[in-house]
Amino acid sequence: MEEQMKKWLEPFSTTDGKPSTLATMQEQVKEWIDQDKIDVFLGYKMVQGHPLPHFFTKNNLDEVDELIGGQARYSLEKIATKIAAEKPAIKIGLMVRDCNQRALNVLYVWNQLNPENVETINLNCCPSKLKKHADCSYLEPEKAAVYKKEVGIDNNMDVEDAEVFDMEQRFKRWMYEFSKCIKCYGCRDICPVCFCKECSLEHPELIATGTLPPENPIFHLVRAVHMGGRCIDCGLCEDACPVDIPLRLLYRKVNATVEDEFGYETGTHADQSPFNLLGDEVTLEPKPL
């Protein structure tokens, strides 16, 4: 427990790169709130031994002393998106790791958040294809179990490893993984870059409803396709999946294709994505029939 606590109190660094401690981070947040630079700060608070997402505002400024960093990992930016959708002018402060930052970039690209209304405090973070050297124990991979290795897909595989199987094997193995799905929507609900108002996964014309497993492979493939140019490889979907479907690997493959075809590295910057070629806003009234 003490070891764990030490980790929560590890040093942090701010956006300007200066080293910081938990105390100075808390100071920073208080200052931002005090000076109305932000209206709300999204961070974590320890509740009965569990780090939980928490709102810090002027009304509970004292609670900022309980703000923690450490290894807590959640899509705070998803909460930010929901708040911003209701209150577009609100200024939001966020505790971010690299994965959160990549998600923010995608959300900026897709006009879900306005970068001018977002302030961040950075934390050290997890390894990813997009950031190789880092530490985040939440993603310390579990070794694949024997039967899963035999018939399914080892969640620790890289895209290249998973491509050694011939097409028939590949299909069989992925279908094995998909057929465990209990349609809990945990992968979608936790996803920081899932923000569509209408979700194709719930569209009865596209995917049949009412059965378990969901209609496969279409259910998982529809989600995978939608992850192209959006997935920022945070791995929260896989963490959330109760039946250990290697979703992170699946979406990595999709994004590898996006990178090959368009040279676009999802989440690394907030520039135009090849997928959101928005035209000009139409101001004309629809033509009468």
Binding site: A145, I182, E202, T209, L212, V243
Partner: protein, 526 residues
């Protein structure tokens, strides 16, 4: 559950029967998937092809209501092959001889015509369960909701004891409870025959103890079960009914009969968070708060008592259940005065010895598993470790009996009822959720393609289902999930209520109705 959910992951064999685990207990199914991937053997016996069947080393679809024959058949094979745990049986059990003698007749050849299970499959089921230790048995309503429900459960216990699987980690007899707090409600004495922690009302010392604790002379007579109450209403012996958090209009069998019974009541009170079908016809409705608006504890299927913490203040003119009950009781002349849920919990720890060591302070986020007899006790992960609660584990010699109603010329199909993954029970809480409603908007009947062809019924056609008790119209779902001759109707949907069809015939001991088997006729609707 004798054992804990987490332990399932480390079982060497899991035998699932009468539980559609991935649909109804999805997070327990998670443990099953993980166990399977770690190399556990999986045996699934369910009248329907369920999601887990496709992951099983052997999966069978036994005829509905044939479970005793199936289980006796498995045990017959185990004993014949000498796979049973003789030293365990000798050291820890009794009633062995009579029990073993009763198995003699259940040869695979005798079992096959009853269950529809091929001898080779039965052999494999027996072998996998008996030769991979520890083996865990998971079951649910598919075992209990029969006129032979108690026999079915006893047979499962026989099987577990026969192979020395009770009182060991990752083994056990594990009924998966259908509600988050049904275990807790039973623990509190929410049954007609016991005080808290299953202390029988017929034992004088218990009646005396509780009469003293609660300052009121308490009856020592066993009360009525729900099934008995319906008859008592018909007979005019029961005049007022107070229903809390239940919707018998959909969840009790034989709706037409129940309807008549409720009509005879002088007073019906319903306490719920929504205006259920039952609440809608009540004389008085008491609006209770939802889970998010109250403090307290729930005790789940693995005997784990956990804190519930209020997230928001009660909305509208509503009260927590305990406040409603306390006020009502006080108004009726028996003062119930508590400072809040914690005050009540303190009383629980004095009334229920298995909760004696618990407190809000100790509970934390993970709670405590009973028995937890003193404040130093860490709680109990699995039961019957050194010995059984009663001392020796008692084997029962059980003979197979047919369900109360079998198909005949007039009602040629078997009907079984149950749940589907998107909805919960009578849909009170789930059908109001837009996401869950989108998943399944209305009722249906699953019918095998061959039967559908015979009847010229296409997927989506409206069909009429009738039994000796009533009829409903519902749309057909042509599916390989059911075998020819078997129909399945989920009971979540008031528009096509499955309980118009179901049989109120009940188990003679537990009084649980036979929701899982009755005879039905199906016709294409005009």
């Amino acid at each position: 559950m004798t054992n804990s959910i987490e332990e399932i992951e480390d079982a060497a064999c899991i035998f699932i029967t009468g539980s559609n685990t991935s649909a109804c207990h999805p997070l327990i199914a998670r443990r099953v998937f993980r166990a399977k991937e770690k190399g556990a053997k999986l045996v699934v016996a369910d009248p329907r092809n369920i999601q887990l069947s496709r992951f099983a080393d052997v999966a069978v679809t036994q005829r509905v209501g044939s479970d005793v024959a199936m289980l006796n058949g498995m045990m017959h094979i185990i004993v014949k092959n000498d796979w049973h745990d003789k030293s365990y049986m000798e050291a820890r059990c009794e009633g062995v001889e009579e029990f073993l003698a009763a198995l003699d007749a259940y040869t695979p050849e005798k079992v096959e015509p009853i269950t529809g299970i091929a001898p080779a499959d039965l052999e494999k089921m027996a072998e996998l369960y008996a030769t991979n230790s520890p083996a865990s048995i998971l079951y649910a309503m598919g075992i209990t909701q029969h006129t032979t429900g108690v026999d079915n459960v006893k047979s499962i216990c026989n099987l577990a004891m026969l192979c020395g699987n009770v009182g060991v980690k990752s083994g056990g007899v594990n009924p998966l409870r259908g509600q988050n707090n049904v275990q807790g409600a039973c623990d509190m004495g929410g049954l007609p025959n016991v005080f808290p922690a299953y202390q029988p009302v017929t034992v004088e010392a218990n009646t005396e103890k509780f009469s003293q604790a609660w300052g009121k002379e308490l009856p020592n007579k066993i009360g009525l079960t729900i099934t008995d109450m319906v008859q008592a209403m018909i007979d005019g012996k029961l005049k007022a009914l107070y229903v809390i958090g239940e919707n018998p209009m959909l969840s009790d069998p034989d709706q037409n009969h129940l309807d008549k019974a409720l009509d005879k009541l002088e007073l019906l009170i319903c306490q719920d968070i929504y205006l259920t079908e039952t609440a809608a016809r009540s004389d008085i409705v008491l609006a209770a708060v939802s889970v998010a608006e109250k403090d307290g504890t729930f005790t789940n299927t693995e005997r784990r008592c956990m804190k519930v913490n209020k997230a928001i203040e009660p909305l509208g003119d509503t009260l927590a259940d305990w406040e409603i009950i306390s006020r009502l009781s006080t108004a009726m002349g028996y003062e119930m005065k508590y400072d809040g849920p914690e005050d009540i919990f303190k009383e629980v720890t004095t009334a229920a010895p298995s909760y004696a060591g618990m407190s809000y302070e100790r509970m934390g986020l993970d709670g405590l598993q009973w028995p937890c007899p003193n404040p130093e006790h860490p709680g109990t992960q699995f039961l019957h470790k050194e010995q059984f609660t009663r001392g020796k584990g008692l084997f029962h010699a059980i003979e197979y009996l047919d369900p109360a109603e079998m198909p005949d010329a007039e009602y040629p199909y078997f009907l079984t009822t149950g749940r589907m993954f998107a909805h919960y029970h009578t849909g009170t809480m789930t059908r109001v959720s837009p996401h869950l409603d989108a998943e399944q908007k209305d009722g249906y009947v699953e019918i095998h393609p061959e039967d559908a062809e015979t009847l010229a019924v296409k997927d989506g056609d409206t069909v009429k289902l009738s039994t000796r008790r009533g009829e409903i119209q519902v749309s057909a779902r042509v599916s390989n999930k059911v075998k020819p001759g078997l129909l399945f109707v989920p009971f979540h949907f008031a528009e096509s209520p499955a309980n118009v069809l179901t049989n109120a015939a009940a188990d003679p001991t537990a009084k649980i109705p036979e929701y899982k088997v009755c005879a039905v006729k199906i016709e294409k609707a005009a």
